[in-house]
């Protein structure tokens, strides 16, 4: 190990961004005039210098191997001068400045088979997601597998522009929400539904009891002695299954095959266009985990997208549509069941109750 310590370099930061830019991007930085989406997945940006770049946006799996990434690099070498990029939503973009390369590149992408064009405009783009059972220690669901199953079913919306507006779908595999899905048109959220199971024989060895108690946002945890062990007790009535205790204390796992599953949320957005940014709201509190293809989750999302597609006005995001028709109509039109779980009972609950005589039947 010493050999690696001797000449240690630290705190250099990432390579500078412009080292990664093709010449046309360097030359036209800040000079772009407008863009057009020529077809799903194909954008052209026009510069005031007269230069044009065509970007081919492809769906991709966020989880990949270097073998796959090498295929992407080879395509970039062959058609794009050795440059490419990823979008915020894990799409891959190949950029060409020579129009004659466009059709050959499209053909090469089609031949690859794992780089479908799409994800632009009024459609469904790639799902941003977390690790799930592939890598995380607190998940209630898998991530990559659910995303694959949902995108297979919505593929027709990925490579078309037939929705009223863009629909951003996100997935987080527990309430920690590394994916921060709380402002998405549709979000898929892993939820636990059973309080932690406590390993009294090991808790005091693995966890700091005061920190564990302090970690609970509803003060549901108190000190407890079980046999000869110093441990904690959880007041199940106050537990909202957030998992913060488990994050602080490995002796309190939450995962449970029968308890865990998916909640679906709708109507969030981060864009400021027209309406203010909005949080996603609860549509379905719980769907069981159904690996490998999660049919109930997939079908429910498809249903929501289809009802929205048929009912919303042009340019209207899912949340804007639900707000205009009223959430009571959202539940009626989608056929989703409304239950006591949909009524907020946490910190800002009262701000969501109806304080008016205005409503629809």
């Amino acid at each position: 190990m010493a050999e690696f310590q001797a000449n240690k370099i630290t705190d250099i930061g990432p390579p500078k961004y412009d080292e990664m830019w093709p010449q046309v991007i360097k030359d036209n930085y800040g000079k772009w005039l407008y863009h057009d989406i020529l077809e799903p997945g194909v954008l052209v940006h026009v510069s005031e210098s007269g230069a044009k770049v065509w970007s081919l946006r492809c769906g991709a799996t966020r989880l990949m191997t270097t073998m796959f990434l090498e295929q992407v690099c080879k395509l970039a070498d062959e058609y794009c001068g050795g440059f490419f990029r990823f979008t915020t939503r894990n799409n891959i973009e190949f950029i060409v400045s020579d129009e004659s390369k466009l059709e050959p590149l499209k053909k090469a992408l089609a031949d690859n088979g794992a780089l479908p064009l799409g994800g632009t405009g009024a459609g469904v783009t790639n799902i941003v997601h977390t690790q799930g059972w592939v890598h995380c220690h607190t998940p209630a669901i898998d991530a990559s597998g659910v995303v694959k199953a949902v995108m297979d079913e919505l593929f027709d919306y990925f490579n078309s522009h037939k929705l009223p507006a863009q629909v951003r779908i996100s997935l987080a595999c527990c309430l920690n929400m590394c994916g921060a899905v709380h402002c998405s048109d549709i979000s898929i959220l892993g939820v636990h539904r059973k309080p932690p199971v406590i390993e009294h024989s090991h808790l005091d060895k693995m966890c700091e009891i005061p920190t564990t108690i302090a970690a609970c946002p509803t003060a549901a945890i108190k000190p407890n002695k079980v046999d000869e062990f110093k441990s904690v007790a959880v007041n199940a009535d106050r537990c909202m299954f957030c998992g913060n205790c488990y994050t602080m204390c490995p002796a309190m796992p939450l995962a449970d095959a029968a308890g865990d599953g998916i909640a679906l949320w709708v109507g969030g957005k981060v864009s400021n266009a027209k309406s203010m940014p909005m949080f996603s709201k609860l549509a379905v509190p719980y769907i069981p985990n159904e690996p490998p293809r999660w049919p109930t989750t997939v079908n429910t999302i498809k249903k929501i997208v289809e009802v929205y597609a048929g009912d919303a006005m042009k340019y209207e995001r899912v949340g804007e549509w639900a707000q205009r028709i009223g959430w009571e109509k959202f539940f009626e039109k989608t056929g989703l069941e409304f239950s006591h779980h949909h009524i907020d009972d946490y910190r800002f609950a009262a701000t969501t109750w109806r304080t008016s005589t205005q409503f629809k039947w």
Partner: protein, 423 residues
């Protein structure tokens, strides 16, 4: 040769039109990669059990850094020895995620030689996420990465790797140099990123315009969002071309042949009603405009953001843990963002000092602002309260006056009071 496991459930995920991570990882496993074979084996077991199979945490890292590496161990290592250790390294991505293949291959080569060969492009915060290293490989990987000019990102209670949108590199809407701001903050605050010393995590995200493609106002403790304060630029000829149906509406986002109905699609959808179309001319009452971007989005050739550009700063966004999800609150309506960004960095350091001083363990700055009040935060960062900071003034009457705000202070003599008022 790697031992292949039966994965009947995962094999179902090799079907369908969307790219399959299973197909990809299986190919690598078949080529002899043991970590890939065992990852699929363990994932299949999770699909069967409907529970994950990773142990809780694990303290591993590289000397000199307090973060950048996330420890992970299998809880069924005897079955899947190739993923017994499955630590993650977060590698700081180049701003806005452009790659020169020659440079990216440096990372790929190191990762092929010393890791699992599996990775995320990219993690939720923005890093390249190298998934699956054994403990003994961490220092060598780190040494080799840095020798090639790559560094680790943030994890734990530290500054997380800043991220930004594509910005001026390829977007006509960008009002600020998102990449340069991202790079400058990343370089300036390397210590804050690599050595966790705060109550909890802190994220910067930089969006070039209010469309917020990197979700800064939902996902970062400090969102830097490009905006302008002069007038939207109008090209009346292009307006006429849109009205005449010569240019597709919305840059083709609703179909390459979508026609623009200027009244229905623009004038009537303007949230402030500040746009007018009369006698073939579009006018905007810019004093009423809130720069939402809708009209610019649907008529990108006719309308452009103004030229007096800068950023709006929103603070406090976060996911639910603990007090519930929050969006950022507008703290600085407009700030010029010019290199070296000193005015902004001064604000940042005041904000961090206050949080460091007052924050509880695992309290994000947004929650601290909730707990101590927006006014306290505004005072701490030495800004003047202005109406732009709130949607509306308070409707509850309990105002916490401070003693120095009231003539004579709070100290009074009950005897003086009783001289005028009988008991």
């Amino acid at each position: 040769m790697a031992k292949m496991h039966d994965t009947p459930m995962l094999d179902e995920l090799t079907k369908g039109p969307w790219p399959s991570f299973v197909t990809d990882i299986k190919k690598a496993a078949e080529a002899g990669n043991e970590a890939c074979a065992d990852l699929l084996g363990q994932l299949e077991l999770s699909y069967k059990d409907k529970e994950g199979h990773w142990k809780h945490g694990g303290i591993v890292g590289v000397l000199g850094y307090g973060g950048g590496v996330i420890g992970r161990y299998s809880d069924v290592p005897d079955l899947f020895p190739g993923v017994e250790h499955f630590h993650t390294l977060r590698v700081n991505q180049p701003a806005s995620k452009f790659y020169k293949t020659e440079r990216l291959r440096e990372v790929m080569e190191i990762w092929n030689n010393r890791g699992s060969g599996m990775l995320n492009m990219h993690g939720s915060t923005g890093d390249m996420v190298l998934l699956g290293a054994f403990t003994e490989e961490l220092e060598p990987i780190f040494a080799e990465l840095t020798q090639k000019g790559w560094d680790l990102g943030g994890s734990g209670s530290a500054l997380r790797t800043p991220a930004c949108c594509v910005g001026k590199a390829r977007c006509e809407f960008a009002c600020i140099d998102t990449q340069d701001i991202c790079y400058s903050l990343t370089q300036e605050y390397q210590d804050e990123m690599h050595r966790p010393a705060w109550p909890y995590k802190f994220k910067f995200k930089i969006d070039g315009c209010p469309n917020c493609c990197v979700a800064s106002l939902a996902r970062s403790d400090c969102a830097i969002i490009g905006t302008w304060r002069d007038d939207i630029r109008i090209d009346q000829e292009a307006v006429a071309a849109y009205v005449g149906g010569e240019i597709a509406a919305h840059g083709g986002a609703n179909g390459a042949d979508a026609k623009l109905d200027i009244k229905a699609d623009v004038i009537d959808l303007c949230p402030t009603g500040c746009m007018f179309y009369e006698d073939g001319k579009l006018t905007i009452n810019n004093a009423e405009c809130t720069r939402c971007m809708h009209c610019i989005n649907v008529m990108p050739r006719a309308l452009r953001p103004g030229l007096d550009t800068g950023a709006s700063i929103l603070v406090g966004a976060k996911a639910p843990i603990l007090e519930g999800a929050q969006m950022g609150s507008l703290i600085i309506p407009f700030i010029k963002m010019e290199e070296p960004y000193d005015e902004f960095k001064e604000f940042v350091e005041k904000m961090w000092d206050w949080w460091d001083e007052n924050g509880k363990n695992r309290e994000r700055i947004g929650e601290l602002i909730q707990r101590l009040g927006l006014s306290a935060f505004i005072e701490a960062v030495e800004l003047k309260p202005i109406p732009q900071m709130v949607k509306e003034p308070r409707s509850n009457p309990y105002i916490f006056y401070k003693e120095d705000e009231v003539p004579g202070g709070f100290e009074r003599d009950i005897a003086d009071y009783r001289k005028k008022h009988a008991r």
